[in-house]
Symmetry: C2
Subunit: 244 residues, 2 copies
């Protein structure tokens, strides 16, 4: 059971199970195209039996950019353990944003400026990156976790958006669910290949038991996870699929 899509709002209805990215196994089916025992994935309710997923966004994006597209990759993280993990995964530079001033760390790591920013932080980090963007930089805006909990009046005001004009920056909001239908299969195939080849390593932070899902969520939002936050609902499948 994957901790994600916590910001879209529209999918959460009181009294109904939460929705999230899931990998599930079909235990019974009357639908054509879904056979017993088959493994399926998608946005499913948090009510299945045993679910695993691995796609911690920053780690995956950084590894893809580094090991598939050949970019120089800089990571920021909230602890020294996470910084060590980023180095281990091949990031060119990584810094702990709790202990290193971000302007200094970014300027040292990217003295010539930034061409691509995968945005999942927001606030002052976004502002610093915009300041450092090179002409025609691209900002892939997939989240702004520093801003989620804040009431509107306390949200951070980004003051240097004029650089978007002078530097011809493209900032594009993207939500993964928009691309499931068209690109989901291709993603699974291609990413499977990269994982098999060792270009991309999947890192999971597993919490045991659906009763701890709420705790796991809160910890993730506070940065307590390293890698993809996953809840393992049961140690063994309580409804084993009948084999022919």
């Amino acid at each position: 059971m994957s901790m994600q899509s916590y910001y879209l709002g529209s999918g959460f209805e009181p009294g109904k199970p939460l929705q999230g990215g899931c990998v599930a196994q079909v235990v019974a089916s009357k639908a054509p195209g879904f056979a017993e025992g088959e493994v399926v994935s998608g946005m499913l309710p948090w009510s299945s039996h045993q679910i695993v997923e691995a796609d911690a966004q920053g780690l995956i994006v950084g590894q893809l950019l580094k090991h598939v597209y050949g970019c120089k990759v800089i990571g920021s993280a909230g602890s020294n353990d996470k910084v060590a993990l980023l180095h281990e995964l091949g990031f060119d530079a990584a810094f702990n944003y709790h202990t290193t001033p971000k302007e200094q760390a970014l300027k040292e790591a990217a003295p010539d400026g930034i061409d691509i920013y995968w945005e999942n932080v927001g606030g002052p980090v976004l502002e610093t990156v915009i300041e450092m963007c090179r002409p025609h930089a691209r900002i892939v805006a997939c989240g702004m976790i520093s801003q989620y909990d804040l009431p509107d009046e306390e949200k951070y005001g980004v003051k240097n958006l004029f650089h978007v004009v002078t530097k011809r920056i493209k900032m594009q909001g993207m939500v993964v669910g928009d691309y499931y239908a068209e690109l989901g299969k291709e993603f699974a195939t291609t990413m499977g290949k990269y994982v098999t080849e060792g270009k991309v390593k999947a890192v999971e932070h597993v919490t045991e038991g659906i009763e701890n899902a709420g705790k796991a969520w809160v910890e993730m939002m506070a940065g307590g996870n390293t890698g993809k936050a996953v809840v393992k609902v049961a140690a063994e499948d309580p409804f084993p699929v009948k084999k022919e």
Copy 2:
């Protein structure tokens, strides 16, 4: 002599003439492709003899969107005269941002939200528009005039950029000079056709005499012009082109 490209910085060198969008006439030429008497245009120094241009951005963009692309178009302006002009040019709605609260005016004019925002204002107007953007809205960022004069610490902080993610907004900085070489000719031809057909009306605010260029500039930055701010350097060409 056109008042523009005042924000790019790179083109302004002490002791050299300012650069700007110009239409000029060739009075002497040793270059192939430039014949005496020919009219040329481009980014030229403010030192020619008689220069005219007409492309007040907001008026042109609004008229194109309305009369060529069939969009519903809302304009904001700083005086009642300008608002009247926008109505006259066929804008669906227009309001005076000095006298009407922008949230109220925009919500009345666009109750279903905004799909395209041509951004030349910045600050709280940008913030209000982002709040009202519909999913997949596009922000064409060509300027942020409200922010130019302010020291960094006084610039307006835009607090609701997270909507860029959830609404999948695309914000793209664009500077006209990037497209002169590739599209300038096509633009002149197509726009000429629209002007001839009456789809787009050129509106000019003419200041006489290069000695008033500084004053014209300051007035434009303070909103004193209606339409394209132009400086007419001389009433008649002091160097008439020799006719064969």
